[in-house]
């Protein structure tokens, strides 16, 4: 009789793959929810991309670990490293990016980005040709995100991320928005048209992997603990009697008594 069995442990075993596939369905619904989020002027400006699979998520986690050091931001170093662990515990990642924030500002003179009554803050700090932002020289960027960005567009991305999170909460899958994940994913080419990308890892496991994180999480976490057990327990097995020849008596347990 056909059945679908789910079990969180061990990760990536068939029973866990079954729930990971359901997380993927949740991710797809979240991506659609993000697309229907209210956007300024009703103009589409959000792209989404879903990544799943053990090696694919590990690649993102490794990129985050690289960025922990290569960005040279001491304050965020731990955050990148800790959140890389969370990525490895996730089932899938939904990336949401705004592909207009850098190249095609809303041109509203709204003052969100600068507090001034024009859009010069964005245009003056960019290469411009024919009155348009020219993004062709990508070597100009020395930061994680190449700003300044249009504040209206970034706000729109926030709306989209909010709708995706609401959908996650409605579906009771764990999810949390991370910029570290978004930056790593963007550098790897996910949501490639967007300069600002938010990563939303999704997980369907008993303990929400995105909260209650302690210090030094990158070296003290479930994966490391289990590896330590395997490593040390086997050492303790280097010696043992021949169990067929040496049988030891046990303390009696209950009325039935011991075996000898």
């Amino acid at each position: 009789m056909p059945s679908i069995h789910v079990n969180e442990w061990p990760p990536y075993a068939p029973s866990n793959q079954n729930s990971k596939e359901c997380s993927l369905i949740a991710a797809k619904l979240m991506m659609n929810a993000a697309q229907t989020a209210p956007v300024t002027g009703g103009v589409d400006n959000v792209e989404g991309e879903i990544v799943y699979g053990h090696d694919e998520l590990d690649d993102i986690a490794r990129k985050m670990e690289e960025l922990a050091y290569s960005l040279g931001n001491k304050k965020k170093e731990d955050q990148f490293k800790y959140e890389a662990v969370m990525v490895r515990e996730s089932d899938a990642i939904l990336f949401l990016g705004n592909y207009r924030a850098k190249e095609t500002p809303f041109d509203l003179n709204c003052g969100v980005c600068s507090g001034t009554l024009d859009c010069s803050h964005v245009y003056k700090r960019r290469r411009v040709a024919a009155g348009q932002v020219d993004i062709t020289d990508r070597s100009l960027c020395t930061t994680a995100i190449d700003g300044p960005l249009c504040g209206v567009r970034v706000g729109d991305l926030g709306f989209s991320v909010g709708s995706a999170l609401w959908m996650a909460r409605t579906l009771l899958v764990d999810c949390r928005p991370f910029l570290t994940v978004g930056i790593a994913g963007q550098k790897m080419g996910y949501c490639r048209n967007s300069e600002i990308v938010v990563g939303l890892p999704i997980a369907t496991i008993a303990k929400n992997p995105y909260v209650d994180i302690h210090h030094d999480y990158h070296v003290i976490n479930m994966e490391k603990m289990i590896d330590a057990v395997r490593k040390t327990y086997v050492i303790a097995r280097q010696a043992g009697p021949d169990y067929r020849l040496r049988r030891l008596s046990r303390e009696p347990s209950g009325e039935e008594g011991g075996d000898e």
Partner: protein, 295 residues
């Protein structure tokens, strides 16, 4: 339509009142939850403002030895002091009598009748619940508790289900004739009040981390900090530069008299301090009764 402008202070007050509405909706969900047996009679109560103080002080009084009780008391205290107290929804039921007739055996007895006979003669109190309980009742209580949380999450306000607060309410008799209480905190209107614990984070100093927390880690995960185990007495990496330490530490499985004593003393300690808090809760309930009679 009349005109209206509500500024930040007004909207904060309105939002707080809104949490009471959410509590009402959560009670709808609780009553509507699909139970397996449909036999447990769920009782609810709402507590907020100064009427939370007996619970807060009780948690603080018993929290010296119990981290979770201490953290929950601290989180409640800070929210109350900031004028943004949680709205506490108590969800209780008497789980001690099986009424479903399933004879499922989950309790360890062959029939419900046998369980009920045993249960009647052996009523008692654990640290957080009365018992013995019918397992299907417990299952239904879980469903009800989850429905409450799911309903609260729909309204996107900070919430957490606490056994700690439920057990306080049980000891202090906020809800009568129940054997188990879950406490669902609704609000304060903040992000991550009960999860990343901002109140706790403030106190998480380097000294506390290096001593209390790391000591706990090393106790919980000796294998993680264990060195080569082949000599049968593996030392533990207790110090940052453990290889330089003059002496090394080892883990043993051994009784620790002071911890045994503290554990033995916890329940007597709770029972000693319960009466003084119960008097206050009785006064709250008497006030509530008088108010109803005056209406």
């Amino acid at each position: 339509m009349s005109k209206m402008f509500a500024g930040p202070e007004d909207t904060d007050k309105m939002a707080y009142k809104g949490v009471l509405d959410v509590a009402n909706h959560v009670i709808h969900a609780i009553k509507h939850a699909p139970q397996v047996t449909s036999r447990i009679d769920v009782k609810t109560a709402i507590v907020t403002g100064d009427d939370l103080l007996p619970i807060i002080e009780f948690l603080e009084a018993v929290g010296e030895e119990e981290l979770v009780l201490w953290m929950d008391g601290m989180s409640y205290r800070k929210a109350h002091e900031e004028g943004n107290p949680p709205v506490l929804l108590l969800i209780g039921a008497d789980l001690t009598t099986s009424k479903s007739g399933w004879d499922c055996g989950a309790c360890g007895f062959a029939t419900c009748a046998e369980f009920n006979k045993y249960s009647k003669l052996n009523r008692g109190m654990g640290l957080s619940s009365g018992g013995p309980s019918c397992m299907l009742n417990v299952l239904d209580m879980g469903i009800v508790g989850d429905y409450a949380c799911a309903a609260a999450s729909k309204y996107d306000i900070e919430n957490r289900i606490h056994v700690s607060i439920g057990l306080s309410a049980l000891y202090l008799n906020y809800l009568e004739n129940v054997s188990y209480i879950l406490g669902l905190s609704l609000g304060p209107l903040k992000e991550f009040w009960y999860y990343n614990r901002p109140v706790f984070t403030e106190r998480w100093t380097k000294e506390w981390n290096d001593t209390w927390w790391m000591d706990l880690q090393r106790t919980l995960f000796p294998l993680m900090f264990q060195t080569f185990s082949g000599n049968a007495h593996p030392p533990i990496k207790t110090y940052d530069k453990w290889w330089d330490a003059e002496t090394q530490d080892f883990v043993g499985v051994t009784p620790i008299p002071e911890i045994n004593e503290a554990k033995d003393n916890l329940l007597p300690k709770i029972l000693t301090i319960v009466p003084q808090f119960r008097e206050r809760v009785d006064a709250i309930k008497a006030r509530n009764k008088a108010e109803k009679e005056a209406q």
